[in-house]
């Protein structure tokens, strides 16, 4: 139960130590101008063969977005409302005009995620699990506000990062990746935290994370 908070806490603690990347940051001016307060997360488009992938991804998106300071529309409630409106599949929802979706919920922005890769290669000794997600945040007027891409590869033989805390995160992921019933949630969680909260192109802080003036 506490594990989520823990991963986020650890990730944040690590971020406090990280030195800023040398390369120029992405242009965030459209996002700053729009300054959305609320984000609607819609079901993902799945380009992998794993039918479970969209549910894992969807479950792991609300926490990093809310911890970044945005109001996130309730994931399950959103799905129920979308289904009542006749929207079931990610593909179909991603084709719908953002303005229509945003108006239905009163959302400032809509987050679209595509699962580009999601596979585990179980070889005799080595196992490699790769996930790759593309994130796209679009304002209610249809303007693209932010994009990011996150690829995370995991293999138990390569978990020594030289950082004790990062090793612990890796150990948690390893424990979940059993051959019989692999649990992708810890890995997906880590990918989302990296893309939304910590990476060089992370989402800027939302209204609930900004220091009070």
């Amino acid at each position: 139960m506490r594990r989520t908070a823990l991963v986020v806490a650890m990730a944040l603690a690590l971020a406090g130590c990280a030195t800023p990347p040398p390369r120029a940051a992405k242009d965030m001016s459209a996002l700053v101008t729009a300054s959305p307060r609320s984000i609607l997360v819609v079901p993902a488009v799945n380009r992998s063969l794993d039918v479970d992938a969209p549910n894992v991804l969807l479950s792991a998106l609300a926490i990093p977005l809310a911890e970044k300071g945005y109001y996130v529309f309730p994931i399950h409630t959103t799905q129920v409302v979308l289904q009542q409106e006749g929207f079931y599949e990610g593909e179909q929802i991603h084709r719908e005009a953002t303005a229509n979706l945003a108006a239905l919920f009163g959302a400032d922005a809509v987050l679209y995620v595509t699962i580009a890769r999601w596979d585990a290669q179980y070889l005799l000794i080595n196992t490699t699990v790769t996930v790759e997600f593309n994130y796209r945040l679009v304002g209610k007027d249809g303007t693209e506000l932010w994009t990011n891409q996150q690829r995370l590869q995991y293999s138990p033989q390569q978990t020594n990062t030289g950082n004790a805390l990062a090793n612990l995160v890796a150990a948690a992921i390893t424990a979940a990746m059993t051959r019989a019933a692999p649990n992708y949630l810890p890995l997906t969680r880590q990918a989302n935290v990296q893309a939304i909260m910590l990476g060089p192109d992370a989402l800027p802080d939302g209204p609930y994370r900004r220091p009070p003036k």
């Binding site: 823990l6 944040l12 603690a13 479950s59």
Partner: protein, 129 residues
């Protein structure tokens, strides 16, 4: 084993945070394992009840501790009650979500209005009371 790992990691995270390395507040909310419970309920629908119990326990605890609940969770609880056919509780929790988070107003208004309208058509006497 899992517990020990968790405790160790927490200790390490705390130590690091206390060392002054972390410069900003760590987390804004307590989530009570929302992502895991949500995922389990998608995977096996019979676990939806665990999600409802988990959310209700968390929200009750946060109320007692006078802490802000994470965005969306009151509404999720409302929807879980709605799916059980308890429209009154659904309306109740949608109302709390709306009072905590102004961003949710459009959606909560729409959901509450639909449920109240439905209550009137299904049971006009009940609605008239």
């Amino acid at each position: 084993m899992k517990l020990r790992l968790c405790g160790l990691a927490l200790a390490a995270a705390l130590a690091l945070a206390l060392s002054g390395c972390a410069t900003r507040p760590t987390t804004l909310y307590q989530w009570g394992g929302y992502d895991e419970l949500l995922y389990q309920s998608y995977k096996s629908p019979e676990r939806t009840e665990s999600l409802r119990v988990g959310l209700e326990t968390l929200l009750t605890r946060l109320e007692l501790q006078k802490q802000q609940a994470p965005p969306g969770l009151y509404a999720e609880l409302g929807t879980l009650y709605l799916e059980q056919g308890d429209h009154q509780k659904a309306v109740h929790y949608y109302g709390i979500e709306r009072s905590h988070w102004p961003e949710s107003k459009t959606l909560m208004d729409a959901l509450i209005k639909t449920l109240e309208r439905r209550a009137k058509t299904v049971n006009p006497e009940e609605a008239a009371k």
